[in-house]
Amino acid sequence: MVFKCYVEIGGVAYISFGPHASKLVAIVDVIDQNRALVDGPCSGVRRQAMPFKCMQLTDFLLKFPHSPHQKYVWAAWEKENINTKWKATRRAKKIEARERKAKMTDFDHYKVMQAKKMRNRIVKHEVKKLQKASTQKGSPKKGAAQKAQTANVFAKKIPLKKAEGQKASGQKAPAK
């Protein structure tokens, strides 16, 4: 497969494992084929060498020349507002949802199960209604129409569910 993202100076990477797991870091310099000099002043990572294996590149790029002092890295980071931009990405939200799911207690499992059950019931109810309506009309385009309609129902019902369980809603938004 052709590579799409490249390691660049100023590239922001997400650390996937190790002592600094799940933190963002800026690549400051490349040491050799396997390691980079990395700095994360806004994410609590000291300037250090880090192997590429534990880094996952993001789309964010900072502008600074190679091996700058930490304060320039910090300035570039703050200017681009990387922290807020990262939190807004789908990727970050999925990671957060995954963490929350892992921390679900037994009671939360139950609440999620009830919420899902309710939602499915409502959706099925709508589908049945549409099916009935279309069989009475006898038109062949009922399949497409139903799917479009149920998508609307989904969109309608999800905001309702958010009012319910706290974590239940968190699971659904990214799952969708």
Binding site: A102, M104, T105, D106, F107, Y110, K111, Q114, G165
Partner: protein
């Protein structure tokens, strides 16, 4: 050193008035030896280790003739205790009345054991069950929702009330929610969840003890072959007292359960594992 004794006329204008007055009072009360101020050496040094004056001259220079101290009590003298009388004379009463007899105060032992430190019994340190130490997992507190793992109520979620004297846990459904009555369970066969019901004001009747819950069996099989099994309790019947106790406890707990949304449904449901659900990964 005579200078150290304060003048008899009170010198009120001086700054040290209070001190001198105090000293005066002390002197009047009793002749107290005050801490003398240290004087420099009265024996000027001629060369190292050699003083100007001889021993006898120093004696008079230091006015040792005035300073007669009692010799401190030596260690031996301090250790020497007063001798306790070894015997006592006691009057003789009873038959041979009159006269005295001599009695030893400290008598010789009347028995010498074969071992100085007696050997410990094999049962040393082994306590009966009633005296065992009862432990309770820190995750289990009154009001915790527990998941029963064994018994006829396995999988059911249940509210923990208290630990009984035998170490077993007293637990209730409540009955109207999941048909689990006031019951005892073992700590080991239970999963403690992090869900808690607030049992702050709930009073559990004190007569709910192990003896109350113990299974009753008739122990007198009369050796009539046909009727042995009839006399023993085949069917367990719920006594009225149990029903009453269940009501008193549950009526206090149910309103607390109603306060937490969806908790009632949670207690009604049953725990189970399914595909992809691994107990070691679950957070209870």
């Amino acid at each position: 050193m005579a200078d150290k004794k304060p003048p008899k006329e009170p010198k009120e204008k001086k700054v040290r008035k209070e001190k001198k007055e105090k000293n005066k009072k002390e002197d009047v009360a009793e002749k107290v030896v005050k801490k003398p101020r240290k004087h420099c050496s009265r024996n000027p040094v001629l060369a190292r280790g050699i003083g100007r004056y001889s021993r006898s001259a120093m004696y008079s220079r230091r006015a040792m003739y005035k300073r007669k101290y009692a010799a401190p009590k030596t260690r031996i003298e301090r250790k020497k205790k007063e001798k306790v009388p070894a015997t006592i004379s006691k009057p003789v009463g009873g038959d041979k009345n009159g006269g005295t007899r001599v009695v030893k105060i400290r008598k010789m032992p009347r028995y010498y054991p074969t071992e100085d430190v007696p050997r410990k019994l094999l049962s040393h340190g082994k306590k009966p069950f009633s005296q065992h130490v009862r432990r309770l997992r820190s995750s289990i507190t009154p009001g915790t929702v527990l998941i029963m793992l064994t018994g006829r109520h396995r999988g059911k979620r249940v509210v923990f009330l208290k630990q009984l004297a035998s170490g077993l846990l007293l637990v209730t459904g409540p009955l109207t929610i999941n048909r689990v009555p006031l019951r005892r369970t073992h700590q080991k066969f239970v999963i403690a969840t992090s869900t808690r019901v607030n049992l702050a004001g709930v009073k559990i009747p004190s007569h709910l003890t192990d003896a109350y819950f113990k299974k009753k069996r008739l122990r007198k099989p009369r050796h009539q072959e046909g009727e042995i099994f009839d006399t023993e309790k085949e069917k367990y019947e719920i006594t009225e007292q149990r029903k009453a106790d269940q009501k008193t406890v549950d009526s206090q707990i149910l309103p607390q359960i109603k306060k937490i949304p969806q908790l009632r449904g949670y207690l009604r449901s049953v725990f189970s594992l399914s595909n992809g659900v691994y107990p070691h990964k679950l957070v209870f």
